[in-house]
Amino acid sequence: MLAWTIYISFLGALALFLLPSRRAAWARILALTTTIITFAITLTAFIQHRTGEMLTVAHYPWIPSLGIQFSLKADGISLTLLLLTGVIGVCGVLFSWNIEDRIKEFFAFYLVLLGAVYGVFLSFDLFLLFVFYEIVVIPKYFLIAIWGSTRREYAAMKLVLYSFIGSAMVLVGLIAAYVAAGSKSTALGDLAGYPFAPHFQMWAFPLVFVGFGILAGLWPFHTWAPTGHVAAPTAASMLLAGVVMKLGAYGCLRVAMTLFPLGLGPWGFHVLGFGSWRDVFALLAVIGILYGALVALVQKDFKFVIGYSSISHMGFILLGLMTLNQIGISGAVVQMVSHGILAGLLFAVVGRLVYSRTHTRDLTALGPMRLGKVIPFAAFTFVVAGMAGMGLPGFSGFVAELMIVIGVWHSYPSLIVFVAIGLVAGVAYIWRSMQMAFFAGTDLDTDPPPPPLPPISFSERLGAGILICASVIVGTFPQLFLNVIHPALNSPLFQGLRKGGW
């Protein structure tokens, strides 16, 4: 049934393209229905497969001569991320309710993007995964270039180029692996079980890891992300930061690390204190955490603050992966969910609740508008989302960061201090932007009253409410997700990473 998430999304997109052009309300309802159905499917699947074991969804031969199959499977990690995609998909439509310009094309591209994301999370054949991974790029480009703001052509082109560079690196690595394994099969399970030579893994691993890492905002290849997020329309930046960046992290874990586990091993010599690719990427992740937080601290554009905060939070995910212990990696998966929800929420607040009303994102210009009084709901949502992101207990960010930090403590005790500093810097930038954007105005009687803004609509309240609830659920009952993540991590696929035990 899970395969229908892909088909329904694509069918919905097709139906939108064929719709008579003047019916804006129909387009909205059609898009909302499609996303709700896919969300319902992911939720049902998540509830039904409580054990998190590998579940075959669809399996057909596709190009038998090359050993390529149309193979869709799901384990606990995929299920978790599919559920995230479902939630963000619905909320993205809710926050795009106001779009009037070429609405059916907008939602059509949106659904294509969503369907491709579902496809990546479900594919267990590397060729198929790569195809979906490439499809993701195309609607992304159009969504930004047509409906975007602030230097949209530049941002869209930059995003596409970075994505293709990443894809090219991934493709080289995958073809090399396919050939080295005897050109029999492109199934992930078969290739992950194949004992590649250590020296081969040593160069293939960083290639594929960086290839996926580019999309996950790996420092210093992150520069597409802030500009891309800022230029994108709200729903697209929600999807972009919420799930598309997760595709990169998912690829790192699912493909790079399972195919080439020996690539994480020690080189046998030390350069500048680094003994393995693992050390290198762990350090890059920590730099990303600190760097993203620091840069976010001095931004003038509200959306850039959130854009750079994504870099910081994605650093946590990559760092969690590099701990190579069960706590750290499951923490990284929980952080993927957490950041997906919270980045979606933050972009919704900044892009939809604030920018589409005030038509400026300049923090100094927002202050005098006294948004805290005029649209208190936006202020409230931002405070909650910001707190959750900085790791306030009770929300998803806290459990995820806690698990990652404990994982790091076991693997890289010396990095813990920098991670902790990153956590404090996270407080500072959220605080600064919150104060400047919502509470900077003084309440003197001499001032002219703030200009009235359109009230917050029901769909916006609903979307924000769903995302906040999701964050609280992850934060208070992380076991719901860990129940399915742990069996997945203990499956044969991750045999090479476990080396007999976490």
Partner: protein, 703 residues
Amino acid sequence: MNWIVQNLWLVPVLPLLAAGISALAKRKSRTLAASLAIGSMAFSFLLSVWAFAHVLWLRSNGQATQQVFNFRWFQFGNDWLSLGWVLNPLTAVMLVMVTFVGMLIFIYSVGYMEHDENFTRFFCFLALFASAMLGVVIANSLLLLFMCWEIVGLTSYLLIGFWYEKPSAAAASKKAFITTRIGDLPFFLGIVWLYAQSGTLLFYNNGAGCLEHASINHLISQTTAIGFCAATGIAVLIFCGAIGKSGQFPLHVWLPDAMEGPTPVSALIHAATMVAAGVFLVARVYPLMSAHAGIATDLTTSTALQAVTWVGAITALFGAVIAVAQFDIKRILAYSTVSQLGYMMMGLGVGGVAVGMFHLITHAFFKSLLFLGAGSVIHGCSGEQDIRRMGGLRKLMPFTFATYTIGMLALCGFPFFFSGFWSKDEILHAAHSWNISQAPYYMGAFAALLTAFYMSRQMFYVFGGKSRLAESSEDHSHSPASADHAHHHGSSAPHESPLVMTVPLMLLAPFALLLGFLGTAAWPWFQSFLDDTQLTVNFGALLEGSMLPVMLSSSVIVLLGLGIGWWIFGRRPIKSAEAPDNLGRLSPPLFTFLGHAFYVDALYGATIITLNTQFSKISDWLDRWVWNGAVKTVTNIVLGLAHLDNFIDTHVVNSGFDEGCQSVSRSGQILSLLQAGRIQGYLKIVAGVLIVFTIILLWKAKI
């Protein structure tokens, strides 16, 4: 297991529900929000009393007084991370204190916040705060404690910044949150370290908890690279969290500024409960704090406890010295809180859980009484907070005056009848017999002298003489502190506050008076209750050893402090708001008068006061420039780094990308010259190539 132990979670959850409902309620539903908050606190109070009674019952039956309830939260690798709550004497005492004081302050707030348009939101935040604070109290897991601790910090932020339109309030709330968060950082690292070492964060879990013997012994046996044992390192890191939350030196800077919040908030959060959370934390993890590698005897003190003692002693003195030179009624109390929290820390360090906690409990009552009294004064004076502009309120606000006097005497530790005397005396006595050094004792004793002095100064300024409020009424509206309150009241004549505000004062006053008798040396009920030892009535204990000298000397110190205060401020009424402080104006007439019979005593007084004024100034200067400056410097360095990063990102990382793009497009342009789009051009090339190929073919054919 008893019902109350299993359902102890209800105590924090009830206010949480109240907060949730009032968050969803409309802004106009004021009665609903207030009654929900007060009602939930009343229920929590009843449950707390039940829990307390249950512990008492266990004790009288000779059973173990500690009962825990743990449950699994989520899986950490192959282990489960458990949370839970614990009911033991420490929990029971704190629960009753927090719910009772909290309930009274909630009731008081109905009167104080009556005119505020965000009344509903205020009660929502208050209830949320109470819930988080009660969570801290019952937590049986360091992680759960930390989670609630963070929410306490958040609500504190929200409540300090409640009047966020005032820039000073917004700044103060930010400062409070970030300063305490700096302390929480080592705390968090300590938690992670503890988890990595002992594999559990539950305090008590049938022998497997991190505060129980097996785990403590394991932690002692682990030695870190720097030489001390892991237990010490973890304890010091955890203590850093307490330093931040409890306003200990050098992280105390946020607490005086936090007085920008509404006065009930100052009373509830920044006097009675939240700031005491740090002290409570140290008390909770006391087995870890007191763990040391040597032979376990009472005579040796662990490194962590020494740190606690010294930080506490320095803070106690430091806060008291600064309080002497303040003019804002709430700031005086704030610095006094800093000083008293230092006492509690010192008490924990030198005397153990019971000594520190006893002062915490008595302080909670008399300091919230003082703050609510101050709030009543401010309310009565239409928002005025400067003590130089008050005066004469003794007659105008009789209830407030009477209760404030009780609170003030309790804070000073006036001998025998006031609770502060007994709890402070416990600390001083323990400090006197501390085996490491006598210095904390002398610092504490000197701070006690100062406490009596500055409180009497405040009393004479506020309640003595004639009202000076009218003379300053013309520049009244410009005073920023009064802005929030001034427009609520038409009349500027001081008046007594409504019953809803004075009744809580009158309910708190008896506790401020009598609570001390629960823990006298003759009948140390409180100590035996907390330490779970046999209670004996022994009036002889009052006379044994160093008990009597310490008690007498501290009585003399208090009387001396009050006397000096009267000497300088009370003898002649303060006439004008603009007149310089008597303490700063050591005028010649004063010196001639000192030349009389009390010459020696007076000389002591004068020298001490001069030194004191200088020291106050130095401390104030340090407070303003050095500690604040240090914070600013760090901020600027971070900002500088951030700008540098931003520069690198824009000009290096990004321009690399742009350069790459440009070189690609340049080469594209060169190539595009070939495809100019003119058919003639293409045909020319085709023709040329054709000719060349023909020539080549002909050439080959010839050969």
